[in-house]
Symmetry: C2
Subunit: 363 residues, 2 copies
């Protein structure tokens, strides 16, 4: 292989593929990135066996070829080199990198030993705007379970309907659901995308503004743009019928400032006990957050509130409350009380496209 | 104790005293900050037994008193509370903190159990500008030894002369010396200040622009401003006569861009072996940095240089070279070769107030 590429473009490509490179010691080839000439471009590939990424960039190709190069060394070097034009060659798996002021050799491996990253055979399923996809993912991903005890809960459920896309996640203590209205024109189907994949997609596409083309095959999902393709395994299993947990009416409802509530919950958390409990209390014009810990002390804060119906008081895990507030996009948040021992419902002040539910703690 | 203070002032005081609070489990009282009314002000005190800090702030005092309050809880609360006026009271070691929107109780301890932080009995030794003191400390502190094997090397030597103040530090692999010319009017004396104290002083005084008053007693040193006093133990022992290691002439000398050299050394470090060795080579118009590692590969970079006398080549630990370049304040750095196996000398392009010496590695 002999190619010439632009340093900045190569660096941006590396930042896309490099982060999933694992320090896998049982399969050390996964610590590499594969460079391969393909249809007049250079393809960078990486995988951790759960997720695979291909990135293509323009290159002047003088000799076709492919080679696996240790990701950390290659990326450390390319990210910090100041020369604009970089010539990369490979011979017997030694990668030569030359530019105006640098001559470098990196000891690499045969690309033949690298796992094949599947390419989507299906035609594109449909296109979604990057922002729409990310709004679903960021809204719900923190509610997915970190534990693998129930594998289906460790992912984000994405349901495609003819007129909307729905994302949902729950770890059985709290639940988030986010909708995007959109004529998809496809038959109903649902997939469970691993939490780690969702986090990676949020990172990769956070600065991307165009459309992303989706395709789904048996147990894989593909996300593609012109110069990037991400493929991930899907989680097998049937997702619980979470819709029936979402209360359809409330007893009382209170409207408060989101940022003030976040601050007061954080302050109360200082005095919470080892089950992370704090108490919220909605009164006529006041919203109180309290916490008490026999070793540390206690706190009571108050803020302005607009209450509909009866006062109420609930104990909740402050972490779940903060996670929910974080993804509420409006200045004020609506909190609905649905009865003793029943879920607490958080919603943006306006808009019905997001709902966040917390199971209360026993008083 | 019943006092009222301004939240912002209290927060800034806490940031000064809080960081040295240790998680000492054998002496848990050290996890506290002592609040004490003193001459119409509130005094905050903390210590880790090596360094002690007192900070005074204005307060409306309704009842004198003192109490020890858990540093983390108190600081987490005060830093995030939004109310301006904070009333603090203590009764039987329970601290009540009340403001417009918050009522808080923190379980504290008796201030009587807290170690006494010594106050300087000596009259002020002399005053030094904060920037002058920090330029000495930041110039040399990274060269002090992290190991306690030779306690005197784990500190920074500060020598006071009638017309200058000299700081020096070495871990026997490299050495840094920084001078500040200043009529001190004092008799010659030297102290060894612990590395950790120096780092703490740099942090505490980094945003302070006025004069700092110094005092030295038997085995302690005091740094005071109007509202802050820092006391530290001094290291006992006699510092090696480092001056005789500093070469007084050179064989060759090369002038290069500091930032370019830093970048090329960092790039070479990717290919250094486990003894962190890289090679520098000064030629007529070129300065080359190379490194080679049989497992990873090799690199050679070149940059423009102005050489006086003969070409030379030296192997050095790249970490020591980077540490030295970091504290060179000029755009270009002068590197002096003083003979095979002899120290390499780094100096700012102009100015004779700083010198940095590295022992070469055997080729």
């Amino acid at each position: 292989m002999i190619i010439t590429v632009n340093q900045k473009k190569l660096k941006s490509g590396l930042s896309a593929v490099e982060r999933i490179v694992s320090r896998n010691v049982t399969l050390p080839i996964l610590q590499n990135i594969v460079l391969k000439t393909e249809n007049g471009r250079l393809k960078l590939s990486s995988t951790n066996l759960e997720i695979g990424i291909n990135f293509w960039l323009g290159a002047k190709i003088d000799e076709e070829g492919e080679v696996a190069v240790p990701a950390k060394i290659f990326s450390d070097f390319i990210s910090n080199v100041n020369d604009e034009k970089i010539t990369i060659s490979s011979k017997e798996n030694v990668i030569g990198i030359n530019s105006e002021n640098y001559k470098t050799k990196i000891i690499g491996f045969s690309a033949k030993d690298f796992p094949i990253i599947p390419k989507s055979k299906e035609s594109s399923f449909f296109n979604i705007l990057s922002q729409e996809m990310l709004s679903i993912f960021t809204g719900v991903v923190d509610s997915a379970s970190i534990s693998e005890a129930r594998p289906e809960l460790s992912g984000v459920l994405v349901s495609f309907n003819s007129d909307k896309i729905e994302g949902a996640a729950t770890d059985s203590f709290r639940l988030a659901e986010k909708n995007v209205l959109r004529k998809t024109g496809v038959a109903e189907q649902s997939v469970i995308i691993p939490r780690s994949t969702v986090l990676e997609l949020v990172r990769i596409f956070s600065n991307y503004e165009g459309e992303i083309s989706l395709a789904i095959s048996e147990n894989q999902i593909f996300f593609a743009t012109e110069d990037l393709e991400v493929v991930s395994r899907l989680i097998d299993g049937s997702y619980p019928d979470y819709k029936k947990v979402i209360p359809d009416k409330f007893i009382s409802k209170v409207l408060v400032s989101k940022s003030e509530l976040e601050n007061n919950v954080r302050l109360a958390s200082i005095f919470s006990s080892n089950i992370s409990d704090i108490k919220i209390k909605a009164e006529e014009n006041n919203f109180k957050v309290t916490a008490k810990n026999t070793d540390k002390g206690e706190i009571s804060s108050k803020m302005q509130a607009f209450l509909k119906n009866e006062p109420f008081e609930v104990s909740v895990n402050y972490r779940y409350l903060l996670d929910g507030l974080k993804v509420i996009p409006t200045d004020r948040v609506s909190i609905e009380f649905t009865g003793e021992g029943n879920p607490l419902v958080l919603k943006p002040e306006e808009g019905k496209d997001f709902i966040y539910i917390i199971m209360p703690l026993r008083n």
